[in-house]
Symmetry: C2
Subunit: 431 residues, 2 copies
Amino acid sequence: MTTGEPLRVALAGLGTVGGGVIKLLDANAELIARRAGRRIEVAAVSARDRTKDRGVDLSRFAWVDDTASLAQADGVDVVVELIGGADGPALTLARATLGAGKGLVTANKAMLAHHGLELAGAAEAKAAPLKFEAAVAGGVPVVKGLREGAAANAIGRVYGVLNGTCNFILSTMEATGRGFADVLAEAQALGFAEADPSFDIDGVDAAHKLSILAALAFGTQPAFADVEAEGIRAVLAADIAEAAALGYRVRLLGLAEAGPGGLFQRVHPHLVPADHPLAHVTGSLNAVVAEGNFVGRLFFQGAGAGEGPTASAVVADLIDIARGEYGAPFAMPVAALTQERKAASGDRRGRAYLRFAVEDRVGVLAEIAAAMRDAGVSIESLIQRGASADGSVLVAIVTHEVAERSVAAALEKLRGSQSLTGRPLWMPLLG
Amino acid sequence: MTTGEPLRVALAGLGTVGGGVIKLLDANAELIARRAGRRIEVAAVSARDRTKDRGVDLSRFAWVDDTASLAQADGVDVVVELIGGADGPALTLARATLGAGKGLVTANKAMLAHHGLELAGAAEAKAAPLKFEAAVAGGVPVVKGLREGAAANAIGRVYGVLNGTCNFILSTMEATGRGFADVLAEAQALGFAEADPSFDIDGVDAAHKLSILAALAFGTQPAFADVEAEGIRAVLAADIAEAAALGYRVRLLGLAEAGPGGLFQRVHPHLVPADHPLAHVTGSLNAVVAEGNFVGRLFFQGAGAGEGPTASAVVADLIDIARGEYGAPFAMPVAALTQERKAASGDRRGRAYLRFAVEDRVGVLAEIAAAMRDAGVSIESLIQRGASADGSVLVAIVTHEVAERSVAAALEKLRGSQSLTGRPLWMPLLG
């Protein structure tokens, strides 16, 4: 059944995902050959440490010490870059591979966020494939879903749960009532969070992914520098409990929207209505919603990381290439991608959640209410809970629909107030 | 930005979806040209009634009275078949189009279920595109999700909510406690159900779609004749209430599974755990789960029918064709598709829900319990509710894991019993 020459692949980087790609190509070799119409074979591998045990037999592959030279290796059709990092060896290899007219498959969201436009141009110049399904939402085929599945639509918004570590932490806090630091430590012990977790929990990883999704959805140049990112460090168990009482779940969302004011891209914790599909995304799952002008709301969900799911996405890209079914990496030629100005967040309207930790004394509530009134923020509900261990009291507010600049103005009025015992938190309600 | 010749399309059938395709190609013309690299233009149209008002201006298109002749029309690259029906004019046109080496895009699940293998062979013989994203789950790109997104995986099971009419009825019964006939009448008044609803509510439409999904997932020839189908007519509001009390929702699922015993394909109402993503699929939404050996559980959800969503899927296919990104319709060459024997349902193991309407008198429960015992069916829970208006009593049972043949044997033992006032209902629990 297998016609034609095998597709010959070089693997750069043999961490968890690289090992998974080898295992997958071994386990499903016959099926993949039937589906792709030809075999997909690993021709060469390269990684920092040749001696490390990766649970797979590497002796059958050519070992290349100089990773960058994979781009010139004889008989290699496609390089799979799994080194990671926005610059350095990954970028060097990507440039060399595409410059040599060979295909590139990568899971490297940081590199694409920073250099995606350049790399897409390099691929286009040589008519070489550049594919990156694994860079966003792991195994979930959402790059394909936007590039192809929803391609007939003008997309209004694209948003989702893009970081499994944060979602694991938030949904564990939700299920157990435990605090952030406690659950983060557990996530680190389980291997769901890095020793230095800031890339995940401060929203940088999700911001990388969001910039890729936005480019695909809106036909814009990837604009990572314009993504605002706020992570989940400030979310308290009490915020999650208040949200639940109001009928919401707290999720870290990446959200991008195209409008007359420009392109808006933000990673921020949100309150998501309990009947919204994203409210049911728990643990380390990822999920993306795309809203199209004809299709309505499309929803994609699955494993956002890990050896098997990420390998699945990498090999799906290889199958597309083996079939000859590939084209412009960002869904249209580089020259067709527009450059949009960054939309001001202050113009955005919606409901908001605000939470204050305050002194337990007379007049505090009046001070907060006055700040809201003076900024033109109308309060829909307000809950004050009794004093916590440190003596402070939590005041949680949900506003009526209001411009974000008014919320910011209200918070500014309260800055430095002696009544507040900590920094206030605000979260948009997903509308 | 638009390079190359336009892709010229002939539309056969100008019902809701045909009108939607024209509206979409008008509304999003510039965006589609950027994404596809060329314009997509309607060159000719054909339908039964030329005078009917479809809300779109047809005067700019060539009108062809003899639909079959679209296949020979000059300057047409692709025919979009939206006539419907497994045979007749739709099949004649499909054969003529592919025979002429032109592309075919169709939303016709019945035709594909019955003649998909032949049509794929005809497409392959002429290297012509044959695409049918709109045939399954409307606007949800699940054909692409299986053919490409999950292509690296051996799929264990594929299942989902494939009929929006049934899901609207079941989820409305769930939300309101109303009965089947009442909600069906409302669905008909709202246009969500046909005057003759049997195609939907008896599971035939879902069975067509399931046979297409199974072929894509397992690399098998479409085998509609092997799909068992049971619809939702027998589901009572009381069944939905009992299921809810047990932590389940009732959903009509199409489910296909490949195993050593062969290929199992069935449409049947199921009890779905409340924390499963399919439990949150309400109204006329469709959703599909694919379980892959590396990616795990992928979930796709969106609008399963209607003008806009279906047109979105049809035009996504046209964009793939305009880009030149298409290949084997069923994911692999026709000769590579295997023919599997039908797996016997009796071998399947799982938990089951059984509901009996019985006389309100002594000994009835003992009779049911004895039948279960004699068939080797172990009861996990049993609920008996007081008499209803007609004097009968409902007994709802959930079994421990058991082979389906044992459940069938228990029901057989009770057949003709004077204690039963109606036909028992059984539903598998989704495991």
